[in-house]
């Protein structure tokens, strides 16, 4: 609260970035290569936690906190909950990969090309990823999110936010309808 970016410059930023990125990549590879679903889920949790660390490095503490609460603490617990009820021994024997190299390579290439295009495209001399980033003072970040959502002058994302919450509501109702035999 009392600290600001000027008083407290970030320490060893490249080191932490590469560390977190390496953890994320290794975790991601483990997710798809482990035969045991619980191991995959644990690797996925590691990846999500490292991602929360990356959000912190981008001065988005609120997003990092929500990432931990929702993904690592909420959704992954439900994942594990379901996986634990599956007969692991049977799934271990089944063939893991659906070998479709051609489609896979095309899809991966297209996605990679899209990302590179998005990174390099300039519109009117400005890229999507400018070198200097706009960062807010530490104490003020969470409030800015609320401003972007609800403020009268800057609140441009209200509609998108409400649509997203409606989508979640539909998913909740769908889950109840599917789970309940008699409503």
């Amino acid at each position: 609260m009392n600290s600001s970016l000027a008083a407290n410059p970030p320490v060893a930023t490249p080191f932490f970035f590469y560390l977190l990125a390496a953890v994320m990549i290794v975790g991601g590879i483990l997710v798809i290569t482990r035969k045991n679903a619980v191991h995959s889920a644990l690797a996925l949790i590691t990846t999500l936690l490292a991602q929360a660390g990356l959000y912190l490095m981008l001065y988005a503490p609120f997003v990092a906190g929500v990432q931990i609460i929702l993904y690592a603490g909420g959704i992954m617990v439900l994942f594990l909950f379901v996986i634990m009820l599956i007969n692991i021994e049977r799934t271990m024997k089944e063939r893991q990969f659906n070998k479709q190299w051609l489609v896979g390579i095309v899809a991966a290439g297209a996605l990679g090309g899209l990302l590179i295009a998005a990174y390099t495209t300039t519109t009117g001399g400005r890229t999507l990823f400018p070198l200097g980033r706009q960062s807010y003072v530490d104490g003020d970040n969470t409030q800015r999110i609320a401003m972007l959502l609800f403020d009268n002058r800057f609140g441009t994302y209200m509609f998108a936010f409400e649509i997203a919450s409606l989508l979640l509501l539909v998913a909740i109702i769908g889950a109840v309808v599917m789970a309940k035999k008699r409503i």
């Binding site: 609260m1 009392n2 600290s3 008083a7 407290n8 045991n36 619980v38 191991h39 644990l42 949790i45 503490p61 609120f62 990092a64 906190g65 929500v66 931990i68 609460i69 690592a72 603490g73 909420g74 992954m76 617990v77 439900l78 594990l80 909950f81 634990m84 009820l85 530490d138 104490g139 970040n141 969470t142 409030q143």
Partner: protein
């Protein structure tokens, strides 16, 4: 060399800044070690207190043999646990079995990074403090679930399933209660905040604990949290994940020795963590009683003497019980030990009277005293309430606490924004109704 000393001293010259906020690595490390040691001592003390208090509630004596009044029992237990064989079952998933206790302990201890023991006595002050606490403490369920699954045994699996269902359910109600308290901070001078220190400062500025704010809204929010936090920590009456009569020991049935003691450590430090959330949000954190009404140098002095007096009182109780010890020669060492313990408490009390010490320590004392009250409540619950059935547990979580929490959230929001609501909703609506009626008639 001088530069290092200067670096260490530079933090001492600052005021009202946490070591993390100042960016001072040395003092941050010192604070981390202090919190770690303090927490471990608190867990050891809780171990003894829980047995003693439970025993006295059931008209028993409790541990009496190891040390005077069983004071050394926790140490004997710790040695026993460390010397025990650490068994990993043959059919268990060894890696996950090995990792699970560490996940639980990490989650339970990391939380204390943001706990404010005083205006500058916290490791650091995060912008998202309370969110961080809720998030990291919600990770402990991962450890419990993986422990139950990796044991590859029926009772632990059922315990883990129960625990994950229970903790996920009660997290919802807990979150709603917390949001209601955070809304109240927006009436402070600096506006709304999620920072743990900011929340306590906001209570100071509003001259009211959030427990009594917007009566009865604050009390209801606190009540929801107080119920949900017992369920979150898997304690009686919500201790279904480790119900010994049904599941042997629940998710940690297959654990032994050091690994089991890690679960024990994590459970108690998680209890202290959720209690400190409750104290920070609703009971004014480190603030002493009546910081606004009874201010001024005389009252400051009077209240700053309380920590020392409390320890002197404990020492006096020790000496009183020393005098009551049996006079038999076999009890001589025990009597001397109790007198020594009383002398130690008295010495701590005298140190707390020193002017330099008492000004710095009283915040920590009040915080610890409030948390201690919660720890006593935990033991009291365990001594009095019968265990819930699982369907009852789910009904309380989803059909009682969640609707009340949602209603509370709406009421708190409306009350915080009452001026805006009055001017922008109720008055225009009323005028509109009158206009409509005029046009019709």
């Amino acid at each position: 060399m001088n530069a290092i000393i200067d670096y260490i001293q530079s933090y001492l010259r600052t005021k009202d800044v946490t070591p993390g906020g100042d960016g001072n690595i040395f003092w941050a490390t010192v604070y981390i070690l202090l919190v770690f040691v303090g927490l471990s001592v608190a867990v050891i003390a809780m171990n003894w207190l829980e047995r003693k208090i439970l025993a006295h509630m059931q008209v028993r004596l409790g541990p009496m043999r190891v040390g005077p009044h069983g004071l050394l029992q926790p140490i004997a237990d710790a040695i026993k646990l460390l010397l025990k064989e650490d068994i990993i079952p043959a059919e268990a998933d060894a890696l996950v079995f090995w990792v699970a206790p560490f996940i639980v302990v990490l989650a339970a201890f990391t939380v204390f990074v943001v706990v404010p023991f005083g205006p500058e006595h916290a490791i650091t002050d995060m912008n998202i403090g309370i969110l961080f606490m809720l998030g990291v403490s919600s990770l402990s369920v991962l450890g419990i679930v993986t422990a139950g699954w990796a044991s590859n045994s029926h009772y632990p699996l059922i315990g883990a399933l129960r625990s994950s269902a229970q903790m996920v359910s009660y997290e919802v109600a807990m979150g709603l209660a917390v949001v209601s308290a955070i809304m109240m901070t927006s009436l402070g001078e600096k506006g709304g905040t999620l920072s743990m220190i900011g929340i306590v400062e906001s209570q100071y500025q509003q001259q009211e604990w959030f427990l009594f704010k917007f009566f009865p809204l604050g009390v209801i929010a606190f009540g929801i949290f107080a119920i949900a936090m017992v369920a979150e920590t898997n304690r009686a009456p919500f201790d279904l994940p480790e119900a010994e009569s049904e599941l042997t020991a629940g998710f940690h049935t297959e654990y032994s020795g050091f690994r089991w003691s890690l679960f024990f450590l994590a459970e108690y430090s998680a209890m202290i963590a959720v209690s400190s959330i409750a104290v920070t949000l609703w009971l004014g954190g480190w603030l002493r009683p009546f910081p606004n009404a009874l201010s001024g140098p005389t009252w400051e002095l009077a209240f700053s003497l309380v920590p020392g007096l409390a320890f002197v009182f404990l020492a006096a109780m020790c000496f009183y019980n020393t005098a009551r010890m049996p006079k038999h020669p076999l009890f001589r060492i025990q009597t001397m030990g109790l007198a020594g313990f009383g002398a130690l408490l008295g010495l701590i009390g005298i140190v707390l009277f020193l002017p330099g010490v008492r000004e710095r320590v009283q915040d920590v004392f009040w915080f610890a005293a409030k948390v201690a009250a919660f720890m006593y409540l935990y033991i009291w619950y365990r001594g009095t309430f019968p265990r819930y059935r699982f369907d009852q547990l789910m009904r309380v979580g989803w059909k009682v606490l969640l609707p009340i929490g949602l209603g509370l959230l709406i009421c708190t929001g409306l009350w915080v924004m009452r001026v805006e609501v009055w001017h922008e909703v109720i008055v225009p609506a009323w005028l509109g109704c009158i206009g409509l009626l005029r046009r019709i008639f």
